[in-house]
């Protein structure tokens, strides 16, 4: 197979993932495993390695995974084509839907539907937040192993989170700082105090 054919096939496969994976980046994972098995472009052990990197770099996991798999299979053009394939179906559908909604902005059924969507959207974000809170401030696995209640709390991250909460809510001067300042500072604090325990 020529390189051009390989790139074309890669783009086509990711376009299919972009159409069928509904519900965000994690929804692409089963498709990525299937693709690896079908084409032998990469192994499922490689998928796990790529996932670990995708979770510890900026950017949404789905895009990071598409880029990584694409690069592994076809170099830089592969990375770009795999990512484009993943996002194009969504982008096109969003634009079509947005145009449709513009026409019906004043329709009372559309407005009534949004009246229900907004609390649902807030609830989904809150639930996702609770999920990250559980993973990053508490350690259930270690607690189950040792039975020691102190192992359940990740003291360092909890103190850091509390300090950030106070700075973003109570102190007038620091309240207006951009989130990037807090993210960068937290990374430094994490490294200095070895918050990951590594």
């Amino acid at each position: 197979m020529t390189y051009a054919m390989l790139l074309l096939e890669l783009f086509w496969e990711f376009l299919k993932i972009g159409v069928f994976a509904v519900g965000g980046g994690m929804a692409t994972l089963p498709f990525l495993y299937d693709l690896g098995e079908k084409t032998a472009w990469y192994t499922s052990a490689q998928v796990l390695d790529m996932l670990a990197v995708s979770e510890s770099t900026p950017g949404p996991i789905g895009i990071n995974m598409a880029t990584y798999v694409g690069y592994t299979v076809g170099g830089i053009p592969g990375a770009i084509l795999a990512t484009l394939g993943t996002i194009l179906p969504g982008i096109i559908l969003v634009i079509v839907l947005a145009k449709f909604l513009e026409k019906f902005r004043d329709n009372r059924y559309v407005n009534a539907a949004f009246y229900g969507l907004r609390p649902a959207s807030t609830a989904l974000i809150a639930a996702a937040g609770i999920g990250v809170l559980g993973e990053s401030l508490f350690n259930l696995t270690l607690f189950e192993q040792t039975g020691n209640l102190a192992d359940f709390f990740c003291a360092g991250p909890i103190v850091l989170a509390a300090v950030i909460w106070v700075m973003t809510n109570l102190i007038k001067k620091t309240k207006s700082w951009h989130p990037v300042v807090y993210i960068a500072a937290s990374a430094v604090v994490g490294i200095v105090f070895k918050l990951g325990g590594a």
Binding site: P60, N64, I91, G116, T122, A128, V132, P157, I183
Partner: protein, 187 residues
């Protein structure tokens, strides 16, 4: 042209500062898109985020496309959606070239433990802000927010199902309260 460049830059920043799933983009959207550029209201961002979950693809890219489209039409949608993926393309390609064991470096693991603790607080703050414009009355709280929150946090019910059910609930609640109001006036 300048406006497209501005869109590109703003959504590249959103992509670079989203750590984790699509929900992690909310604090940046509120700060940059709603408060700084004023390209969308808090309510619009929530609408887009909810719809983005139900469409195929990546939630962050879909949400960015909605906002870009709202601001500058079809081309604006493409620019915003694509811009949000640029940081990933660059960072992952560099890591794939040179640092294949990236996730195992202690420095990376420690930095990420710090970043995750920070993201937790930023999301809590984002939810508190959203709360004010989303939970407009007790019906929104009791009929939509609480059930969706409980189902999403404690079961594996698909978020798509929850969003669709919430839209239907919104229509039913509005129709019923309209009818009750009219009934009240008739008496």
């Amino acid at each position: 042209m300048k406006e497209y460049l501005q869109l590109f830059w703003a959504f590249m920043k959103v992509g670079a500062l989203t750590f984790g799933g699509g929900y992690a983009m909310l604090p940046i959207l509120q700060r940059d898109i709603v408060e700084h550029y004023k390209w969308a209201t808090e309510e619009e961002v929530m609408d887009y985020y909810a719809m983005a979950q139900c469409l195929p693809g990546i939630i962050m890219v879909n949400t960015s496309t909605f906002i870009g489209q709202h601001r500058k039409g079809t081309l604006g949608g493409f620019v915003a959606g694509f811009a949000s993926t640029v940081p990933s393309l660059v960072i992952i390609t560099v890591i794939a070239m040179f640092l294949t064991r990236f996730a195992e470096y202690p420095v990376v693991q420690n930095a990420f433990a710090g970043i995750r603790a920070c993201v937790v607080v930023l999301i809590i703050n984002a939810v508190v802000k959203l709360w004010k414009s989303a939970i407009v009355d007790w019906k929104a709280l009791v009929i939509v927010f609480l059930p969706v929150f409980a189902l999403s946090a404690f079961t594996s019910v698909s978020p798509i199902l929850l969003v669709v059910a919430a839209a239907v609930a919104g229509i039913v609640i509005t129709l019923v309260s309209d009818r009750l109001k009219r009934g009240g006036e008739a008496k």
